[in-house]
Amino acid sequence: MSTRIEPNVQFIREMQAAGGESLKKCYQCATCSVICPLSPEEAPFPRKEMVWAQWGLKDKLVNDIDIWLCHNCGECSDNCPRGAKPGDLLAALRNMAYKSLSKPAIIGEWMSSAKYLPILFGIPAALFLIVWALTTGLTIPDGEIIFAKVYPTLQTIDPIFILTVLFVVFTFATSIKGMLSSFKANGLEPKEDSPSFFKSLIDVVKDEIISHRKFKDCESNKDRYPGHLLVFYGFIALAVVTGIIAFFYWTNKLFGFGMVTPLALWNPVKILANAGGIALIVGLVFMTRNRLNADPKKTINSFYDWYLIGVIWFVAVTGMLAQIFRLADAAAPAYIVYYLHLVSVFMLFAYLPWSKLAHLVYRTVALAYARQIGRKGLGE
């Protein structure tokens, strides 16, 4: 039986633009599928993705769960005899998935190229500037430096970020639904005796994410592991801090006990916050160094990679500097840097579903689904 293949040339070009520029070099030897420690026995990846990509089979690729099982360790690209960089292709497909899965699509478009950076920066920059104009008329407040003087929690920070979070959660909810139904459309269904999705999710978090186990599985990933782990736990620490601060803000408001920011440096919550910030920065140093030192014959860095690293740097550096200026009692720099910090945090979270950071959600969901249907690496 012969099948007529209709190559989607436009799609091939998109993949090449999104980071898979060397995909045409592949000659289908399958070294990559063998070398990948995460690649399963049945229909292993990424060899099949390489041929689908060369043939422009968009339908197959956009519904492919395997792009999420890949942890981008680069072992396949290191061993590829042709320099076809299968690791980069899968990264490119994920970048394209961020763009196509999450709605509204226009934000995905903005996130796909450096030329839209002014828009991405401009939105929060204008928003927080307007807020500043409304609170203190763009002036630097006198007295002790308390950021709430310019950005009061109740009236500004909470509504803006709660709305942002709701927006992001809603976006993810719809896109995850789409993602799971596309896996099903591809014939990947849980069997009768499969565990529930929820149980698989818990197992993935416990068994894989907390330990970064799969991240460690391949030799080529050794250098990336500490960077990713530090950034990951840095964020966890900061998320915990944010949660505690928010909780005590409300207990204070409602019941009259709790903590009021700024916290003293010795406060355990403040220590946790600073530890998280330092972990973030150290992790970023690792990540940036790895990206800069990457052998261009083995991998290239896409805009998605640099956007995420850049924004996290932006968040970490402005966060730290705001604190330092506050402690140094330098009011004008402190408030301005804090303003930039809010802009950076907005850029990180509001655009999350379209940025590379969306892998946090999509990969977790895909890993859980893969676990539920029993799709795992050969020998795992």
Partner: protein, 415 residues
């Protein structure tokens, strides 16, 4: 007036052919061979293409032609040290390492009987051993023994000197240097098997039952270390399941970034060796693409008829040892079936490619080369590359390039 002599660097099949073609039309020819014998890689094979002759066939005829032609002078254990001058008038300095065995040698083997030192036989790719004094191989030409001075204990032992009835052994022999004048140079430096220690994902040469295609030739050759029996190096067991790993380090930008032309055919040929000895042995050939140039396709078709030879499209990218049994676990994706599988074999043969010898050991002659070390020019200087010094080839085509180069060399010196 140009010098009408021709220098041939390398005494393998290509070099012999070029030398004889030129000598038989009247030119003086010097063959400079690094090894202690002529015949090169072909001498190590069990059978060679296109007709699957044993090497004694083609080489024997050429050796006869050399013996009968006073115009061919050959130096073994010899290397070119420097070349000066230009086309028509080259002065070539040649270093001749001591053989320690002179022309009196009758190959009686008495010296070997008394020699106390053993060495790994590089000729057998370390599958066998020889004494420090040894015959290069069964039909070596010149038929003279040689002493490996890296391991020989020298005059403190000298048991061989005593045992030799013909005063053929001189342990005091020294390195010599000679200068010859030639008008043209044929480079027939041939190839080296790619170094498997670089193939880390394929065992890096550390797994005893993973051998190379050239080791397979030695195992199967009647005069080889096992007198022709194909057996596992680890325990001498007869293999029942054998895998061939094609493109082991070939067509790979991390190793040899080109196809070596004949390795597919070599593996198919090895199937005939295996089938001859083991009618029931199972063979799996893992390949990316099978290359059967020209008429060789018929040979491929013949092997494909063998029901116990399975050809799987998918490169082996992982080889591990099962330490309990000495078996070898091979991982590959069967691309047609889309399944990635680990398979166990008793023995695995890596079809390694050919690397130009001068990429491994530098040649003291300036000549344009490509990135891989294959010679790409030199003709304007009266220097002609032949055989696998030029590109990976089979024996037949190598001989054709040699004949062509002989003609060009003659044209250079007649000008």
């Amino acid at each position: 007036m140009s010098n009408s002599s021709i220098l041939v660097i390398g005494g393998g099949f290509s070099g012999l052919t070029a030398a004889l073609e030129a000598a038989e039309v009247g030119h003086e020819v010097f063959i400079v061979e690094k090894m202690p014998y002529l015949g090169g890689r072909v001498a190590q094979l069990k059978h060679y293409f296109p007709k699957l002759c044993p090497p004694s066939c083609g080489l024997e005829i050429n050796f006869q032609r050399i013996k009968n032609n006073p115009r061919v002078k050959h130096f073994t254990l010899a290397e070119v040290v420097s070349v000066s001058g230009g086309p028509g008038n080259y002065d070539v300095k040649i270093k001749i390492s001591p053989r320690y065995v002179n022309n009196n040698c009758t190959a009686c083997d008495k010296c070997v009987e008394v020699c106390p030192v053993e060495r790994d036989s590089a000729y057998d790719f370390d599958l066998g051993k020889t004494k420090a004094v040894y015959r290069p191989h069964l039909m070596s030409f010149p038929m003279r023994y040689v002493i490996d001075d890296q391991v020989c204990e020298g005059s403190s032992c000298a048991k061989c000197v005593e045992a030799c009835e013909y005063q053929a052994i001189d342990l005091e022999e020294k390195e010599k240097e000679i200068t010859i004048s030639v008008g043209s140079i044929v480079v027939a430096t041939g190839w080296e098997p790619y170094d498997v220690s670089k193939l880390t994902n394929l065992g890096a040469g550390q797994i005893s039952n993973v051998i190379t295609n050239m080791q397979m030739e030695r195992l199967a050759a009647p005069a080889g270390p096992t007198t022709g029996k194909i057996q596992r190096p680890s325990d001498g067991e007869e293999p029942k399941r054998i895998a061939f790993v094609q493109c082991a380090g070939s067509r790979d930008q991390n190793h040899l970034d080109y196809c070596s032309y004949i390795c597919c055919m070599a593996s198919l040929k090895h199937c005939t060796y295996i089938r001859e000895q083991y009618p029931d042995a199972e063979v799996v050939i893992y390949y990316i693409d099978l290359r059967a140039p020209g008429r060789y396709e018929k040979f491929l078709n013949k092997i494909q008829q063998d029901e116990k030879v399975l050809m799987v499209k998918g490169k082996v990218a992982k080889i591990e040892e099962d330490s309990a049994t000495g078996d070898v676990i091979v991982t590959a994706e069967d691309i047609m079936g889309g399944v990635k599988k680990e398979e166990k074999f008793n023995m695995v043969v890596l079809a390694t490619g050919m690397q130009p010898s001068i990429a491994v050991n530098e040649l003291a002659l300036e000549v344009p080369k490509d990135e891989e070390g294959f010679i790409t020019g030199g003709e304007d200087k009266g220097i002609f590359a032949v055989g696998c010094a030029k590109m990976p080839l089979d024996v037949m085509t190598s001989a054709e390039t040699a004949t062509g180069a002989a003609l060009k060399a003659i044209q250079t010196v007649r000008r």
